[in-house]
């Protein structure tokens, strides 16, 4: 006799969760947090470069996004709104703590050090110290303008579509696509000088 599995109920929509959250239901907040914490964290980490700051930005982003819900309703999805707020919070935090600026200034020196020890794709494939590789990607990201950085990270790390990035940044889709091209071009230029990418 074949086992019959009852279909699981569909996950509640973001809109429903937000209604429940507004009504004071704690579980709704937990579900929203669980649903979007990872993309939010990835964006924040890329923009800040370390876990404690990234978690601070995620926390601040969730609080701001949920206390200013009128800022997105009817215009975009909650995910887009949240990631917009988180990425802005991360950039603000980076400015306040001087993290990115320091990185940018240090990039030249770090690049010299990296030049002395060029990373090859083979090394990367063999699992070259992941932290070193991540640091190199971090330095490459720091060469981008703030707008390019935010656009690239929202697309590459949060998985937002062109349209969603455009909504999040209040720019046209063409601008998003153009920024992506030049961002990738800069990343490639930086990385190809330091690896045989």
């Amino acid at each position: 006799m074949a086992a019959v599995t009852a279909p699981s109920p569909p996950a509640p929509s973001d809109e429903l969760l937000l209604e429940r959250f507004a009504a004071g239901e704690r579980a709704a907040l937990e579900e929203l947090f669980r649903r979007y914490r990872q993309p939010a964290y990835r964006v924040a980490f890329r923009l800040l470069g370390n876990e404690p700051d990234a978690l601070d930005a995620v926390q601040e982003g969730f609080v701001k996004a949920l206390t200013h819900l009128s800022g997105f309703q009817g215009r975009s999805s909650f995910k887009t709104w949240l990631l917009r707020v988180v990425s802005n919070a991360a950039l603000d935090l980076g400015r306040q703590r001087g993290r990115r600026e320091t990185l940018s200034l240090d990039a030249a020196g770090a690049a010299d050090a990296a030049d002395a020890n060029l990373l090859t794709p083979d090394e990367a494939a063999r699992g070259l110290e992941r932290a070193d590789l991540r640091s190199l990607l971090d330095q490459a990201l720091a060469t981008l303008s703030e707008a390019q950085r935010q656009t690239f990270v929202l697309h590459a790390d949060a998985g937002l579509s062109y349209r969603e990035v455009a909504d999040a940044m209040s720019v046209s889709i063409g601008t998003v696509m153009s920024r992506l091209f030049y961002a990738r071009q800069k990343l490639r230029a930086f990385l190809s000088q330091r690896t045989s990418l």
Binding site: F33, Y41, R46, V63, A156, Y162, L187
Partner: protein
């Protein structure tokens, strides 16, 4: 900026869409054909493709469960204080309109409570300059809404009399973005007209 349809290299947007697999087959074939004749561009696109692979292969390290629990707890703690239910004038409007209204009200009410109509109704009221306002404090949740800009009215304000204004129509606005203050029951909306000619009345 115009892009040559036969020359995808003139359009970074099209190359981005090509690299992301967002072009329809016919458009993708045109880009591929163009790249076949443009070695430098083909190398650039291949390089960008390798960058994306490298990027995706090195995601940020994930925080542990304890870190997530802490962050969620902090979010919950922060929310009640930062979740006002009352409707607020947004700061962007509030700063400009509020400052102008304060000057207006101060001058107008002072004259009003001195008794009778203003002695010189045509005399222009002063408009504050940017240096006249100092923000002493602000709620943290309001800070993202802060917009610093020139005041909406640059010229001295001339008060319009009752006979100077006639209401032709009244429209309601979508107020779901919080930018339009809601007029409560029993409250009377006020119209302030600014004249471009400092010495005369408004139209």
């Amino acid at each position: 900026m115009r892009h040559d349809r036969a020359n995808p290299g003139s359009s970074p947007e099209r190359l981005t869409a090509f690299l992301d697999g967002e072009l329809d087959p016919a458009a993708a074939a045109r880009v591929e054909a163009w790249l076949a004749d443009n070695a430098a561009a083909a190398e650039e696109i291949d390089g960008q493709r390798r960058v994306l692979r490298l990027w995706q292969a090195n995601p940020p390290p994930e925080p542990g469960p304890a870190a997530w629990t802490t962050v969620l707890s902090r979010v919950e703690t922060s929310l009640p204080a930062a979740r006002p239910r009352r409707r607020k004038w947004p700061i962007a409007l509030g700063l400009g309109a509020g400052a102008a209204a304060a000057v207006f009200a101060a001058v107008f009410l002072t004259r009003l409570f001195q008794g009778g109509p203003p002695k010189d109704a045509d005399a222009p009221l002063p408009v504050i300059a940017p240096g006249d306002v100092t923000i002493i404090s602000m709620d943290a949740p309001d800070a993202p809404g802060l917009v610093v800009a020139a005041p909406p009215v640059q010229e001295p304000i001339v008060l319009a009399g009752q006979d100077d204004v006639s209401v032709m129509d009244v429209k309601s606005y979508r107020d779901d973005d919080g930018l339009v203050p809601r007029i409560g029951e029993g409250e009377v909306p006020m119209i302030v007209a600014a004249s471009m000619a400092p010495a005369g009345r408004g139209p």
